[in-house]
Amino acid sequence: MSVNRFLLCLCLLAPSPALAQGFAGLGTEADGFAVPVPDVPLTFPMDHGPHPDFRIEWWYLTANLEDELGQSYGIQWTLFRSALAPGEAEGWQSPQIWMGHAGLTSATEHFSAERLARGGIGQAGVTLAPFQAWIDDWQMSGQEDLSQLTLTAKGDAFSYSLEAQAEGPLVLQGAQGYSVKSPEGQASYYYSQPNYRIAGRLTLPSGPVTVSGDGWLDREWSSQPLSENQSGWDWFSLRFDSGEKLMGFVLRGANGAKDFRSGTWISATGEVTPLPPGAFQAVPLAQAEVAGRKIPVRWELRLPEKDVFLIVEALNPQSWMDVTFAYWEGPVAVSGSHRGTGYLEMTGYE
């Protein structure tokens, strides 16, 4: 799960100047929005589409790619939906606001771009049959069951156009898609498709590059996901050469509160095991100076019950998403008990 996405949306929609106090108070009030409740089964393909009665939602795809020379790249394609009020309305009166983020990272370069759009007029949105998520000229479209997707995005200095093919089933995070985010019970609906094979073309200032690799799609929606006593988060989605996968996150406690850690283990055969609270451990090993602040770009991860001991290292420590509400997000290489690649997202580092 990618908690920073909550921050982005909530900051954008904050009813009070909230940035100064972290995101205190934002998660507790739902203001007439629907609230996730346990034991409500997700239904597909309907839940691939938007849920305008919930405050926030996203379609979030990251991919680790390699070119023909073996050079590593990472891309991010994200569409956020944020509602000023529950529900939908015609034209400019729509309370829905859309935000797109695109990132492209190589070992030496990192690019980011942002799009903002109003709902209701057709400038951005998500529709089913066929599946289509778009904002301006960025697009993620394909089969209604998300088994196949075409991705495009561009910024001032980069663009990409990729095809994604799912090679496995959807993964429901938490308890059948009900993902708890704090000891106080904040939660979201959360599922993923971690099994994309991806191929296509990146365009960098130095020219086009043909790439292929693996992708991971996250879908999440909620209305009051965060606790007052959380200052930021570190989120990992890792894919091992063994075929196993790990999603883990740390919601860093503030004001003396403890960190909240959770995650999901996915076996090579696709069995999903939610990790019990505290099972997943993450310790920063080295920091880098990024955009005027210190950010951990080398981590030690442990999952003792699975005999997992990992060193996670950023492909490019400067993977800074320089957008309206900036954060760190980039591809990582995994070594230790398992080898592999993945994506790391970190927010709340001042």
């Binding site: 009070s16 000023l84 034209g91 400019w92 009166q93 606001i97 109003r118 007029i121 301006d136 561009k154």
Partner: protein, 807 residues
């Protein structure tokens, strides 16, 4: 020593309090008028700067639709091709009887709006932004607009920002589209990408959408209003100069009267330099005091005039300025500087004469016939030179500045010629008179001419300005009134709430057998500016009444056949198009210019096509306003029937008379400032004559003494004094008349055409001139009465003293 000298010098004013008052009043008046004009100009310029800053901020390179309305669908289609755009929806909304120009931005995609910050906040604030996006939304207004409107009851949050121009409101596009009832329309799309746009990667624009250069959409108030402010400045300067004439006269008198004192001080050993120093200190003190008084008067004068100026500017040029005055350092300093400068100029003659003062020689009656004539000849030569320069500037410099240089040269040149002419007229009068007393009267008038000439020049300038500006305003008013009669030919004007009601009203009226003239239009954004194109039905109302300036013989038939277009004079002048030439318009609109009509008071271009043409090119044109032709006797009945049938308010149904009345009221208010300035200038000029006569009074006793001794009674002398004053003023007024006419010609034909884009016919108003001449005679009479009264009451011993004392 200098201190003692200064005290001695200042003691003069204790004995001559009236003189001191005249000096202070003269300087203060001059300063006040100057300061008032400067203050008004400064205020207006600050408003323009704000408005232009606002315009520049928002009026970036934009995409507009040329011949059909821009829609939200157009915007979305371009966005989905990757065009970096942000939509803008503009429109006028009537709230509580006041129109407000609404500008709706998509604050999400165009947030760099300086005005979008919470009250007191420095930077745009996310939470504030969200409150604007979230229903019910918020409207950002200039505090003054908000005070005028009091619209809080609409349920909107009102935010105040000085950065928003008067009469405008800024809000999120969702609110503006809701308020205007335009969910699908847009006005323009702000282009946010690199310039020039990379059409290679962005793709081609659809045919009907193209770039409009940054500031073509908005009119430039500064260029238009410049002439108005130049006019005001000229008025201010004129008044200032007239005020200086007063001061010059008074200082001259004070110098003259203190000759004895100067001599005594010099004989006591005061060095000449110290004497001059003491006098400079004295003048500076007086000038500073007068300047401060002038500043205060000027401030209040400006505050009183400013609302009128605001009305003028918004009425004539569509430029909004704030009507509250703030104290600005610029005009405070310029006012004080002008007072000091003016005082030093006015006293320079006094100092020069002081320089030549022979210490021991008694002042004698100045017999300065030939000397004075030589002076007048010199002035006349200079004046003639200025006249020539003025004509040259009109011929070769041209334009607005050429017009103003011409005006300045003509006025100053004629003023300089005045004493020369008067001198010769008086001499001719003298030679034509046989009666000895009459002969003396002419000669005496001539002898007084040097002392009075400056005041008379002031009077002439004031009179000429009055005639010129008066002729302009009255011509304008008459033309405007005729034009209103022509333009407002329909007896009744109806405004519907929306298109559907408009259609129903039209049907209802037509069923009653009335001729309905729909008023429908479409605004085109052209590279050269905005053009509003109206569609008209083929109706005799237009054929018979429309105020054409230049027209093809079969223009209305051709128009009805869709073969051409009628354009307003402003549009014709701006684009330099003549009859039967081609107006550049998007495809589909007719191009051939069939006629040019007058359209006073409209800063934008306007044109007329046939109604089918309009509807073919702009099918969406609003159908909400109608003119109705009917028997004037039936107006009340129909008005009531309409109001009842369609639940319309009084404002929705207005008869011709009301519209005309309202238009004329706006017009009259527009020129109230000019009226006030005219009267003030005349008042200052009268005061100048008065102080001049008062100055001359003490110098005249040596000349009156012998006449009195020869048997002319004091009463007769006083009468002659008044008569002479009237004679001089009358002659001056007569000479001012041609100057005034030239002035009005320049104002109407040169300045007006350049500044406003339309030319006005000159109408002459001889009764006004008569009134002005009488007014100047009255001024001269009033100015002469006090000195004459003093003469009448003068003790014979004072006249006898002329023969015994040194004077």
């Amino acid at each position: 020593m200098t201190g003692v000298a200064l005290r001695a010098l200042l003691s003069h004013w204790r004995q001559h309090r009236f003189q001191l008052a005249a000096l202070i009043v003269g300087l203060a008046l001059a300063t006040a008028l100057w300061v008032a004009v400067q203050a008004i100009n400064a205020e207006a310029k600050a408003s323009y700067a704000k408005a232009e800053g606002f315009v520049q901020e928002f009026d970036r390179k934009s995409l507009v639709s040329t011949d059909k309305p821009l829609t939200v669908a157009d915007y979305v289609a371009l966005k989905r091709e990757g065009w970096p755009l942000s939509p803008v929806l503009e429109g006028r909304l009537k709230i509580e009887n006041q129109w407000i120009d609404l500008v709706g931005f998509d604050f999400l995609t165009f947030p760099p709006v300086p005005t979008i910050s919470a009250p007191g906040a420095q930077a745009p604030d996310g939470a504030f932004l969200i409150s604007l996006l979230r229903p019910p939304g918020g409207l950002i207004l200039n505090p003054q607009t908000a005070a005028d409107l009091a619209i809080s009851k609409q349920g909107l949050a009102i935010h105040l920002s000085d950065a928003v121009p008067l009469g405008s409101g800024i809000a999120d596009i969702s609110l503006v589209s809701r308020l205007l009832g335009k969910p699908d329309s847009l006005t323009r799309l702000i282009y946010l990408g690199p310039d020039p746009p990379e059409t290679k990667t962005l793709g081609q624009l659809p045919d009907h959408i193209r770039f409009s250069s940054a500031n073509s959409a908005a009119i430039e108030p500064s260029a238009l209003t410049e002439s108005f402010h130049l006019n005001l400045t000229a008025f201010g300067f004129l008044s200032f100069v007239v005020g200086l004439f007063i001061v010059q006269g008074t200082i001259g008198l004070a110098m003259e009267q203190r000759r004895g004192l100067f001599r005594t001080l010099r004989c006591l050993g005061l060095p000449f330099r110290n004497l001059v120093l003491a006098l400079v200190v004295e003048i500076s003190i007086i000038a500073l005091i007068s300047g401060l008084i002038g500043l205060i008067i000027g401030y209040f004068l400006a505050a009183a005039l400013l609302p009128g100026v605001a009305v003028t500017l918004s009425g004539l040029y569509g430029a909004e300025i704030e009507n509250t005055l703030s104290l600005r350092l610029a005009w405070v300093l310029s006012g004080l500087a002008m007072t000091l400068l003016g005082a030093s100029i006015a006293s320079s003659y006094g100092f020069v004469s002081l320089w030549h003062l022979p210490i021991l020689q008694a002042p004698s009656t100045r017999a300065r016939g030939q000397q004075v004539l030589r002076n007048f000849n010199g002035w006349a030569l200079l004046g003639a030179g200025l006249l020539g320069l003025g004509v040259l500037s009109l011929l070769f410099l041209g334009g607005l500045s050429g017009g103003f240089v011409f005006l300045g040269c003509i006025m100053l040149g004629t003023a300089l010629l005045l004493p020369y002419f008067l001198w010769h007229i008086l001499r001719a009068g003298q030679s034509a008179t046989r009666h000895p007393l009459g002969h003396w009267l002419w000669a005496d008038a001539r002898a007084q001419l040097p002392g009075l000439s400056l005041a008379l020049m002031a009077l002439m300038l004031a009179l000429a300005t009055n005639i010129g500006v008066g002729t302009m305003v009255s011509s304008f008013r008459l033309t405007f009134s005729d034009w209103l009669d022509q333009r407002l030919a329909s007896e009744l004007y109806v405004t519907a709430r929306d298109d559907a009601q408009g259609e129903a009203i039209q049907q209802w009226l037509e069923e009653k057998g009335l001729r309905v003239l729909p008023i429908r239009s479409r605004v085109l954004q052209q590279p050269s500016g905005q053009i509003t194109i109206y569609g008209v039905r083929d109706d005799p109302t237009y054929r018979d009444n429309w105020p054409m300036i230049d027209v093809l013989p079969d223009a209305w038939d051709l128009l009805a056949q869709g073969q051409g277009i009628l354009i307003s004079e402003q549009l014709a002048r701006r684009q330099n198009i003549n009859l039967d030439e081609t107006l550049s318009l998007p495809e589909g609109w007719p191009h051939r210019v069939l006629g040019i009509y007058s359209d006073y008071g409209n800063p934008h271009g306007q044109a007329i096509v046939s109604m089918p043409q309009l509807l073919r090119n702009a099918p969406q044109a609003e159908n909400q306003r109608f003119g109705v032709r009917l028997d004037p006797d039936h107006i009340p009945v129909l008005t009531n029937a309409l109001r009842e049938a369609f639940d319309l308010t009084n404002e929705n149904v207005t008869d011709q008379g009301q519209v005309k009345e309202a238009s004329k009221q706006v017009f009259d208010q527009t020129f109230r400032v000019t009226d006030s300035l005219k009267l003030l200038t005349l008042g200052v000029a009268s005061f100048a004559i008065f102080t001049s006569l008062a100055t001359l009074w003490s110098q005249r006793l040596p000349q009156l003494g012998p006449v009195w001794a020869m048997g002319v009674s004091r009463q007769a002398l006083a009468q002659i004094d008044v008569l002479r004053s009237l004679l001089m003023a009358g002659l001056t007024a007569l000479l001012a008349l041609p100057l005034g006419l030239v002035l009005s010609w320049a104002l109407l034909v040169v300045i007006n055409t350049e500044a406003f884009g339309w030319r006005l016919p000159i109408h002459l108003f001889p009764l006004d001139w008569l009134w002005l001449v009488s007014l100047s005679l009255l001024a001269a009479l009033l100015a002469a009465i006090l000195p004459a009264w003093r003469l009448f009451r003068l003790h014979p011993s004072a006249l006898l003293k002329v023969f015994s004392s040194e004077r």
